[in-house]
């Protein structure tokens, strides 16, 4: 039987400093048609991750057809001029490949994951989907209907509903950024095959595009890419200027969910991007405030008070500008007190960041990097972020160096220049009949109930 007294451990071990680390350096070549090939050879990573990044901002979409970028991307793997929808799906999956996509305000990304020995076959199909997709009427129409159903699912989910309400408020009203990347119902419903084909014709092309490949790559990888993408023509390709986001006017809104047992919130404001000189400082500050498990917010609202399963604060950078928010789900009964306390915790006037807090944040960021970027998809994802945000290949190395220069004072200065706890935008999905009054008592006297369908 267990004898508790027998347990006498030695002193707590010290941590040995991690060795030097840097993000891998890619090999770069450019095909004659302008497509840039960015290769990361990672021995031992047997599943290759490829990302084709297109310099097509959402500003490229006609206002009345927003969502056309997403619908086009979603239909790329539904047949080509060479293969029917079913044939294409069968070929891709026989190659053991997975196809994915990411639609962001700064550009589009098409993603391929495939075991290394099947790269040739999969890359052939990937190129086919990107360069000569069928984008046929029935498939586009179906993707439109599926997107509309997806919006219905998103609005019914409280954390997604709060996020939708937050972006409508934190970005300037009437701008593209205030609306969902994949399109709102009215404009999605207007997308048809002609619109998708035109969008593809005008905006898909090799110029300005980057094909990122990470994993255990064959020596012949560049010639493979040339073989499959070399004939891709950029003759029709149009270039579209990027438009930075603008901040919206501060508001407090509730998305009413009758009977909800929790209130899901997004509480934040307009932020900065990774090229801002304050980026390292604000990364440290927001980690201390709401990134670490024992952050100031989670340490109190979860670990002391048991109000939530978890609350976090994060800065979400865009190519230019960005947002930040505190997010979490709180039981209905405590939402007023939770927000009051959150606002107190968010103020650093009487609770300055300490040297120990800053040091812990910096060593955390440095320590997690080697593992986060150890896999093919980890490297490819980061390389795509860098491509979309126009960051250099050694961005992460520079970032870690800058993090080491952060002081409590510089973190506080950046934080106070961006976060005013009394001037934040609030979006909550919850039972308005129960939470309106507590929110008013907590100081949100301007709270409005909004309808996401309005």
């Amino acid at each position: 039987m267990s004898q508790p007294n027998a347990f006498v451990p030695g002193p707590r071990p010290q941590i040995a400093e991690p060795g030097p680390w840097s993000f891998p350096t890619p090999r770069r070549t450019t095909l004659d048609n302008g497509l840039e090939v960015v290769s990361y050879d990672l021995p031992g990573q047997h599943v290759i991750s490829a990302g084709l990044v297109l310099d097509v901002p959402l500003a490229a979409e006609p206002r009345e057809l927003e969502g056309v970028a997403a619908i086009t991307c979603r239909t790329l793997d539904e047949g080509t001029t060479k293969h029917s929808t079913d044939e294409f799906a069968e070929l891709l999956e026989t190659a053991g490949a997975g196809f994915g996509l990411d639609v962001s305000s700064a550009g589009l990304q098409l993603i391929l994951d495939v075991p290394s020995r099947r790269l040739d076959a999969a890359l052939d199909l990937f190129a086919e989907a990107v360069t000569i997709p069928a984008l046929a009427g029935p498939d586009i129409d179906r993707q439109v209907q599926l997107r509309l159903a997806e919006i219905g699912q998103a609005r019914a989910n409280p954390s997604q509903a709060a996020a939708i309400a937050f972006r409508r408020t934190v970005f300037a009203a009437g701008t593209r950024y205030a609306r969902m990347n994949d399109g709102e119902p009215d404009t999605v419903a207007a997308v048809d095959a002609e619109a998708a084909q035109r969008f593809h014709h005008d905006h898909f092309g090799p110029r300005g595009s980057k094909l990122i490949l990470a994993g255990e790559l064959p020596d012949t990888v560049e010639s493979l890419v040339e073989q499959h993408f070399g004939a891709w023509s950029g003759d029709h390709q149009r270039t579209v200027d990027h438009r930075p986001p603008e901040p919206g006017a501060r508001r407090s809104v509730i998305v009413h969910r009758p009977g909800a047992v929790q209130a899901d919130l997004q509480f934040g404001g307009f932020g900065i991007d990774r090229t801002d000189p304050r980026w390292a400082d604000i990364s440290v500050a927001s980690y201390i405030m709401g990134g670490a498990f024992l952050s100031r917010l989670n340490g109190v609202l979860r670990e002391e008070l048991g109000y939530t399963y978890g609350v976090r604060m994060g800065f979400n950078p865009l190519r230019a500008g960005g947002t930040f928010s505190v997010s979490g789900s709180f039981r209905t009964e405590v939402i007023g007190d939770a927000l009051t306390r959150a606002r107190e915790l968010l103020s650093i006037k009487d609770q300055p960041f300490t040297p120990a807090e800053v040091k812990d944040a910096v060593t955390y960021f440095a320590g997690v990097s080697p593992l986060r970027y150890a896999t093919a998809d980890g490297v490819a994802d980061q390389a795509a972020i860098q491509a979309l945000a126009l960051l250099p290949d050694d961005y992460l190395d520079q970032r870690l160096a800058k993090l080491r220069d952060v002081t409590p004072e510089s973190a506080a200065a950046a934080y106070e220049s961006l976060v005013d706890p009394d001037q934040l935008t609030l979006a909550i999905a919850g039972d308005a009949d129960k939470i309106t009054e507590p929110l008013q008592q907590a100081g949100f006297t301007d709270i409005e109930i909004i309808d996401l369908e309005g």
């Binding site: 539904e78 999956e93 020995r117 179906r142 399963y309």
Partner: protein, 430 residues
């Protein structure tokens, strides 16, 4: 590189050593990243819970972060995160796992922390910590299950598929009533019953040689005394369902939905892998039959899937689900799903279909093993459940060896319309 057409040969190193107190230690060196993953499986999951105490294994997992003799409440995170660690724990039907991955210079700290809570959790457990984490877990339940559409699907399905008193009849998160009724004494009893070195597996994967890993494991864990190990929980396999159990629920959901479920053989029991591939052929991927016929062809479903969830306690769970497009009734959708399941017999999975299902399985498996933290988790799992950590190298070959004929045979035995349970979600106000 291997040549085209043959599957990848996996040869991750696997070394084993058992400490005197019964703690099984597995080491698998990988020097590529300078990082190390520490992973502990305790052989206790929600299936070990007693009636009236559902959700307890998971609630207990939270308490493991509330301090031990030499670690203050939440200090586990406070020490490991600044060392560059990702840290967490999860509870499932068949196990509870605790893990951290960090630069190799933090290995000693990680092991010391895990040993401290294995050896002395009860010294630090207080009523106050218990109350706090009970509230946190209740918020987790509200956030993940009670306050989202279809959040009760697992609860409804398990009660259809497994009989009263069966270990898989209740969800891992448990019931609010049981969480409310639990007390700190229950937690103490739970720890004494299940948390001991001889009921755990420790995997250390990454930038450390096996000899060093074993020496460090001994250095920190040797002082944790062995205890009376709970008897292995053996659950007899149940035959397929009969009587077409059916539940209908009307809720505020965005789309009407149908979930059909089956009892299947236990994970890795004869027939399971074949059925797993059969479910893949039916409803995984763009080329699967359900996507082809219901989502694309007839356009009656906004989504459709089929999957086999492997469990070790006698039976696994098979699920086929779809959400209806506007204008399609749940009955029409259920009929369409059933006719595709019938068609698995009339037009058996072809060689090509089975190959595609295998190819997808292979990619997911290779991606899983690409990370040292998930590789460590697989090692702990295979050692705990099957006494064979080498399965990380050989498991896929077992799947690859299945023939289309075996898939058909297993489908005929287990996966037919009359052996299902049906769960229907209707929209309110219709």
């Amino acid at each position: 590189m291997t040549s085209a057409g043959t599957s990848a040969r996996l040869d991750y190193p696997v070394a084993e050593h058992v400490l005197d107190n019964g703690l099984r230690v597995i080491a698998s060196p990988d020097h590529a990243t300078g990082s190390v993953a520490v992973n502990l499986w305790y052989d206790v999951g929600s299936r070990h819970e007693e009636e009236g105490r559902t959700g307890f294994a998971h609630l207990f997992e939270h308490l493991m972060f509330q301090g031990s003799a030499n670690v203050k409440s939440s200090e586990h995170f406070a020490l490991l995160q600044p060392a560059g660690a990702t840290v967490n724990a999860t509870t499932w039907f068949d196990r509870t796992n605790y893990f951290e991955a960090l630069p190799a210079g933090g290995l000693d700290l990680a092991l010391w922390l895990e040993a401290d809570r294995m050896g002395s959790l009860l010294t630090a457990l207080t009523a106050e910590n218990f109350e706090n984490q009970r509230e946190v877990v209740k918020e987790e339940k509200r956030q993940r299950y009670d306050n989202v559409p279809y959040g009760d699907v697992m609860e409804l399905i398990l009660a259809q598929v497994f009989p009263e008193g069966h270990p898989y009849r209740h969800t891992v998160i448990g019931s609010m009533d049981d969480l409310n009724a639990a007390g700190v004494e229950d937690a103490r009893e739970f720890f004494r019953r299940f948390y001991m070195p001889n009921n755990a597996v420790l995997s250390i994967v990454g930038d450390v040689d096996p000899e060093t890993a074993f020496a460090k494991a001994a250095q920190y864990f040797d002082i944790v005394p062995a205890a009376d190990r709970p008897e292995k929980l053996i659950t007899d396999p149940l035959p397929p369902l009969t009587g077409l159990p059916r539940v209908e629920t009307t809720q505020d959901v965005p789309s009407e939905a149908v979930y059909l479920t089956w009892r299947l053989p236990a994970d890795r029991a004869p027939g399971f892998d074949a059925l797993d591939l059969g479910f893949g052929v039916l409803g995984q991927g763009q080329s699967s039959r359900l996507i082809k016929s219901l989502v694309r062809g007839r356009e009656i479903a906004e989504s459709a899937y089929a999957s086999a969830m492997g469990l070790v306690g006698g039976n696994s769970l098979g699920m086929v689900g779809a959400r209806a497009r506007a204008g399609t009734t749940p009955e029409e959708l259920e009929d369409a799903l059933l006719s595709e399941i019938d068609r698995l017999a009339a037009e058996p999975p072809t060689e090509a279909e089975v190959e595609r299902a295998k190819a997808q399985t292979e990619r997911h498996w290779m991606q899983e093993l690409a990370r040292i933290d998930s590789r460590a988790d697989q090692l702990s799992g295979f050692a705990t459940l099957y006494d064979d950590p080498q399965l990380i190298n050989t498991r896929f070959a077992e799947v690859e060896a299945i023939s289309p004929g075996e898939v058909s045979e297993a489908i005929a035995e287990w996966f037919t319309p009359e052996r299902r349970a049906s769960l229907i979600y209707r929209k309110e106000g219709r």
